[in-house]
Symmetry: C2
Subunit: 142 residues, 2 copies
DNA sequence: AGTATTTTTGAAAACGATTTTCATTCTTAG
DNA sequence: CTAAGAATGAAAATCGTTTTCAAAAATACT
């Protein structure tokens, strides 16, 4: 349970017969360093600053690996780009998205989750995942 | 309050100095006829069956107009394509999306909405819009 | 160690959806 | 009816994402 993201990733690579490379280490380190929700492009630029030789395609492929092994989840907030978010354990959170400045606030509310399950049950629907996003204006932008 | 979508659209065009064209009428009629959540491509194909001379670009531009004047809202359910949904008055609904067969069930729950407002309030956030989607398996696909 | 096997890499090309361009056609106001 | 402006559709451009492919790197096997 105390497995770090690095360990989880390394074990995943091993279990799939994939190889550890310096690029993958670098990309993971940089991904964990930023606590935002980077797109492939954004993470690529950040990685590039320190390691100009890492290519966009590698960042893209590595982010997909992160999602596969569960240390990242895929998000998109309607701006047309896919974003990756670092996942901590099995906790789930939703988002407040400011349409003016792009600020993203995370929140969690058990009561909402419970009501969601209730609604799904009414439709005999088995929920695997969900997303809840509130769009509007943050404190500063109002 | 009894304005039909057609009327709302026509008034919007007028107010913006835009013109009424047969294509726009056709596209709106077809859009209202389908109670799904068509993508540009899908609506284009449907329109095309009856009116082969209507172009993809026009469907695309017209759907954007629908969104602008409020008779449609933009959605995307993570499959990479943008979908447009007919909006009835100011009622809001959320979605259950089946990841197996693509079925989309709409639902509405006031209690969830109220909790959302509460959470937003706690962050001094002014909510303009929101989206809630539950992904999983529908009754048939389980 | 050295060699073989397999995966990974990065640049560039391919891709799919969306958006724009531009010459022509259509609407509407005068 | 005419002139001015907007809309159209086909094709091209664009944007983010994904794939291709030859070269490089990592692991497995003597």
């Amino acid at each position: 349970m105390s497995d770090s993201k690095q360990e989880i990733f390394r074990e995943y690579l091993l279990s799939q017969g994939l190889k550890s490379t310096s690029q993958r280490e670098i990309i993971l380190a940089e991904f964990l360093r930023c606590d935002e929700h980077p797109s492939t492009e954004e993470l690529y630029l950040r990685v590039r600053k320190k390691n100009p030789q890492v290519g966009y395609a590698t960042v893209h492929r590595t982010l997909k690996l992160f999602a596969e092994c569960g240390i990242a989840s895929v998000r998109n907030f309607g701006d047309g780009t896919t974003r990756y978010e670092s996942v901590s354990g099995d906790e789930h959170h939703d988002h407040l998205v400011c349409q003016s400045c792009g600020l993203i606030i995370e929140f969690e509310d058990d009561r909402i989750e419970k009501l969601q399950d209730k609604v799904a049950g009414q439709h005999n629907f088995k929920v695997v995942d969900h997303r809840l996003e509130l769009y509007g204006l943050c404190e500063k932008c109002q």
